[in-house]
Subunit: 357 residues, 2 copies
């Protein structure tokens, strides 16, 4: 591979002049520039980042870790998707900014974090991003010390900067929209109770009810999600639905903890001869398009903006890099990213005047 010396010799100038042509940091005579540029072209010269890094201490690299990072055991709600979508969002923004992403995966083994971090350190990454596969608290090994570090889809006790989904607001918006559509009895089949998202979404649900002056009825709320699909979850959901449908005032719509659960609810309801949305409406959460757009009828759901979270994290990172502010512990409000409600045909409009929202 050609070096700056080869180019310099071919163009009949000094290496430093070639450097100046590349970086434009000092005036170069037009003819000299042309000579250098054609020499670079002929030799297919590509400057070496390694050499450049040696002096400038700027690598243009950022490290990203997905998979297990916490030292606490984790409950894998993991479909493996969210973290990948977040990574895509980060990738777009950073690529645009000329930053190259080093990506590693713990493969589920938290013990590997130390190794990966060291590898990143060897490459002198300018910052680290950790992406969790579902909204949760993490317990960071104290390795990623002084470095700029940003957490996505997770948070810790130390106040490390993070980007989180606004589960509460999302559920609130969805339920408010259901109410606007004329629904008053809103069943809620929640995620497992140990998930952070579950508590927040329940709050959002209650917020929306309170805002509309509706009473909170515990009979309409049931923990019905498990961490994985399977016959046990089908039973759990089925029982919850049966209980709710048997109420004096049965729900007119079922909010599900996520789209995956909604998919199960479709099957369960239909196998019992209950039509969606003819007999009862169904709503999800996440907007996994693979499910929400494909279900028949298509699913009304709240967007969990994974891609946007990734983009937000990338922007925060760029800002910090420019400001040269490493790992500033923020005590301001956390950046909570919320997504819109997507209205599809799985929910009936009981109140034709409520087409807004």
């Amino acid at each position: 591979m050609a070096t700056i010396y080869d180019v310099a010799r071919k163009a009949g100038v000094s290496p430093k002049t070639v450097s100046r042509v590349m970086n434009g940091d000092a005036p170069v005579n037009t003819e000299t520039r042309k000579a250098v540029e054609s020499a670079m072209g002929e030799l297919a010269y590509v400057p070496s980042r390694a050499a450049r890094t040696m002096r400038s201490n700027k690598t243009g690299l950022v490290g990203l870790i997905t998979g297990a990072i916490s030292t606490t055991p984790s409950s894998p709600e993991s479909s493996g998707l969210p973290d990948l979508l977040i990574v895509q969002g980060i990738l777009h923004v950073l690529t645009e900014a000329g930053i190259t992403l080093l990506i590693s995966d713990t493969g589920g083994d938290p013990a590997k974090v130390a190794d990966l971090t060291r590898t990143f350190a060897q490459h002198r990454v300018e910052a680290l991003i950790y992406v969790a596969d579902y909204h949760r608290k993490v317990d960071l090994p104290a390795i990623a010390r002084a470095e700029t570090l940003i957490l996505v889809n997770c948070f810790d006790d130390a106040g490390t900067p993070c980007v989180l989904p606004d589960d509460r607001r999302g559920q609130h918006a969805l339920v408010a929209r259901l109410i606007a559509a004329g629904h008053r009895r809103i069943g809620f089949l929640t995620l497992p109770e140990d998930l952070v998202a579950q508590g927040l979404r329940l709050q959002g649900y209650r917020d929306a009810l309170a805002e509309a002056g509706l009473a909170y009825d515990p009979d309409l709320v049931a923990v019905a999600g498990l961490h994985n699909s399977g016959p046990r979850e089908v039973t759990l959901i089925g029982d919850a639905i049966a209980r709710m449908m048997a109420l004096d005032e049965a729900p007119t719509v079922l909010c599900c903890g996520n789209d995956r659960m909604a998919l199960q609810v479709y099957g369960i309801l239909r196998s019992r001869g209950v039509a969606v949305p003819g007999d009862i409406s169904v709503a999800g959460f996440d907007d996994y398009k693979l499910i929400s757009e494909t279900l028949y009828p298509p699913l009304t759901t709240a967007v969990l903006p994974y891609q946007a979270m990734g983009e937000k994290a990338a922007h925060m990172l760029l800002e910090r890099l420019r400001a040269n502010a490493p790992a500033e512990k923020e005590n301001g409000p956390l950046p909570l990213i919320s997504g819109p409600v997507v209205w599809r045909q799985s929910v009936t409009e009981r109140n034709p005047s409520a087409q807004t929202g």
Copy 2:
């Protein structure tokens, strides 16, 4: 950040000796070694890859590009998932091998490939991987010249090494298994005709029929998939099903082009009062667990082993790197990766003696 000189000074030795301790490439006195190691520990020394790269010309970096690479327009069957799963597979293997992956995304713009490739070249990546989001032919810009390059989920005319899914074998295995279960009239709702996978899977379908001595009946095959979900696809699939069900000898099972289509088929069948699998069986393709495990009843399907394809590609890469054989055009048989059939409750066993397979 501490350098090898700092460590050497602290330990009272020469930098070269520190280097020897790190690399173990020459004998070092035990006491000297201990002194050096404790100096490294105290200074939290991490060697610089950049400096190391300067002499050795080994970077331990591999570049990966996803998104549009081809200069030909593409039809986006893309749910965005496959490429991500493939990347995960690659990531696991390469991380294990101590190689760090530089990942970029064209964001759908083929024009960016040149930029990305140049960035990778600056980092002196030792190889390039391109990952497509669905099985297709690509038309590579002639940039990634001499370098070791591997294509995943796609192929080109130039004979660049690639890893592809064995669509034909997968469909063959699935249909053979259906036949073993006693099914004789097997409907096939295929993917759009312009997809490479469609032709291969249709061949697999015919292979299995021929092998069992069953006649191929064109009435049982319909192109019913579009590139995206939506009312048009629902209509297409619905019409195809109606036509097949009205045949003198209606199918007892419907094979769908992929799991997403199967999900639609579930909805369409049930909205017409047709029970799955009571009245008719359904099979998919891909084994997107999010769908196949969650559908009610769970979906019988053929695994499209994206993760395994990624792993295979990574292994091929490692082998080439070790052999130092850049971009050898292979003319041997292509590595086609096939996955198993996953048998779930969406297909009835009509022949109780056929529990094998």
